[in-house]
């Protein structure tokens, strides 16, 4: 054996490499079966960016199916609720150029939630069946209502209502949700700072 190796060093090296290749190949092959990633990780990451409004405007029955379609190569500009910001995030993730929102699928609109005019509701349960996120509660022939915190504003419950008592109402700013906006370049800031000494008095707000 020892003499064989020293007599044919090239063949011995070749045999060693082949043997190693076989061993590692087997290990990798086993690992790929044993540790196969569950589901579709790219689609998961895309789904995490989609707004989960579940409105179907993209032409798919919900955000998850569209995420899978994007992973399979569909255009990234079909989700109006996600808007330009959503497209930008998808473009960053997939490392492609952002493209403008496809108007065919609708426009980015103000956030709204559904509101059921409770006096008019006949309790037909049709809206409950249409809501993709179970945000409507009610029972047959009882008045229904929307859980505003869970409503994604997808609009799907409006059409099925036979008595037309569901309205989409824009989300209003309350004291709890009000916040400061970024300063605008064209507006002189009103921020307070004891700056009497350093601002020339000619520079005064009109």
């Amino acid at each position: 054996m020892g003499s064989l190796v020293s007599d044919y060093p090239f063949v011995a090296a070749l045999a060693a490499m082949v043997a190693l290749g076989v061993v590692f190949g087997a290990v990798l092959g086993f690992a790929s079966i044993r540790f196969r990633a569950e589901g579709n990780p790219i689609a998961d990451q895309i789904n995490a960016i989609l707004p989960q409004t579940q409105c179907g405007q993209c032409g798919h029955p919900g955000c998850r199916p569209y995420a899978e379609a994007i992973a399979a190569g569909e255009a990234i500009n079909k989700c109006p609720p996600g808007g330009e910001a959503g497209i930008q995030a998808l473009a960053d993730l997939l490392d492609v150029e952002p493209i403008p929102l496809d108007a065919e699928h609708g426009e980015e609109s103000v956030k709204s939630t559904a509101f059921i005019i409770e006096d008019d509701c006949i309790g037909c349960t049709k809206c409950i069946q249409a809501c993709p996120v179970d945000a409507i509660v009610g029972a047959a022939k009882q008045m229904h209502t929307v859980i505003v915190d869970e409503c994604t504003g997808c609009d799907l419950c409006v059409d099925p209502c036979p008595v037309d008592c569901i309205e989409m109402r824009p989300v209003v700013t309350t004291l709890a949700t009000w916040h400061w906006d970024l300063p605008r370049a064209d507006v002189r800031p009103l921020i307070i700072a004891t700056d009497a000494e350093r601002v020339s008095t000619g520079e005064r707000a009109a």
């Binding site: 789904n47 179907g56 029955p61 955000c63 869970e150 008595v163 300063p183 002189r188 601002v199 707000a205």
Partner: protein, 575 residues
Amino acid sequence: MRRPHDFHGGIYPPERKSLSNTRPLRRATIPDQLVIPLSQHIGAPAKAIVAPGEDVLGGQRLTDLAGLPVHAPTSGTIVAIEDRVIPHASGMSAPCIVIDCDGQDRWLDLEPWPDYRERDPAAVVARLHEAGIAGLGGAGFPTFRKLSSARPGQIRTLIINGTECEPYITADDILMRERARELVLGIEILAWLCEPKEILLGVEDNKPDAVRALESALTEIQTPIELVVFPTKYPSGGEKQLIEILTGQQVPTGGLPADIGILCQNVGTAVAVHDSVLLGRPLVSRITTVTGEAVTEPGNFEVLLGTPMKQLLADAGYREAPRQRLIMGGPMMGVTISSTECPVIKTTNCLLVPSAKELPANASPQACIRCGLCAEACPATLLPQQLYWYARAQDQDQLEAHQLFDCIECGACSYVCPSHIPLVQYYRASKAAIIEQRADTAKSDRARERFEARQERLEQAAAEKEAKRAARKRAAAAKALDAGGDDPIKAAIERAQARKAAQETSPASAGDAAREKIQRIEARLEKARAKLAADDGSDATITAALTKAVETTEKKLTTARAELDAANDPKEQTP
């Protein structure tokens, strides 16, 4: 004596304190009407337990104990519980209790607890809750909550903040001068509740009168309170800054003072604690500084909560002028108030009415020249200039990585910035955007879970249906059953798609969109009419509802048509 430490950065703005601290404390006029916001701090609003028409006595509790309660500051009649404009940067309104005062100032019988040490500490904390005691220095956080959130034995150091570092404001200065004894007794109550190893009372060295008053009160009452006087620098009154000055310790990023065994309370709060425990008096008044060159008699006032600001301003000799700015708080961290009708609330430590010359609006911002002055001034050792760039780019990951949330919004960076960049506004907006983003993510995560749960349920239901159908099919092979399982989402989506397909001839103008809308409503009207026609009249309520639906849809149609006309009018008449 303890040697005070220093903190990074800070600035020395003109103090302007002598404007208001040379006159003695005055009592503000009791107004004809008090307006008391139901909720005076962040969190769940309290519910009113009184109704319009009811007579109330001074000291009577007006709201339940779900939040921090408010009380009637004097006797009178509740005339309304309605939305009134409140002193908030948004200029919005919120529910307020409106009391017409009867001028007699009749009070409930108060129940003093001079023997509080014999009672259960939990009962004393409950009394502070019941009396509506809030932090009077800063954001008005409920004092009972701060006390009860600390574990027993957790607090090693109790710090009482008598710093009042912001220019112009002298309310705490006057309070320490005039009510030093009550202050010391109030601190003793707080100390009894949290059992610290040391009690430090921090005061800036620009208040010699207050220091003298405190020294004499401390020699009179034997207590372990240690008075620490340290050099004046803005913002030494910030909680974290004061802790560093007094103990040399730094509160960890994102942490609370309690994490390093420290509890901070403001001097005003300590006096309110004294009043509520030893006198039984709830928090119905506070000391407010009214100052600025636009008032003729600036000074400090003991004012009832709910007093309209214009009344208090009138007491200080202010005559309403157009375009006058009114600031609640100081010139560094205060907010501009939209109306002098706003009431004084628990956190109103100062009303500043500057003349235009005194506090002109900021100059137009210029480009950042990367001078680094802001980083030198920042007491939180942040990099304001970096934060500014990231805020402009709305790069939230970087903002968080650069500890945006450690910013105390003190304004030191804006103050020194030679380019007049309103840095703090950028930080406030960015913080809000990040918080909003977090809420949105939480909501969309929930939506995803709910969607997936529903999907699973529908699939399961469909599978069950399918199994039953197969069983029936086997049993009665002859009969072909309707497959059923009409998926409502799919149906809705198909409808949506159909609608989109109909829009293929993409609506170019507002007119087209309106026409489109009319078509939709017409279709719906037709549907509704058909339903009404098909109705057998067996259930009167359904018939009524369907009739009503037809009516509302008709109404919507008319409005939509009117909208279309309105949209078309100007365009189509000018060919």
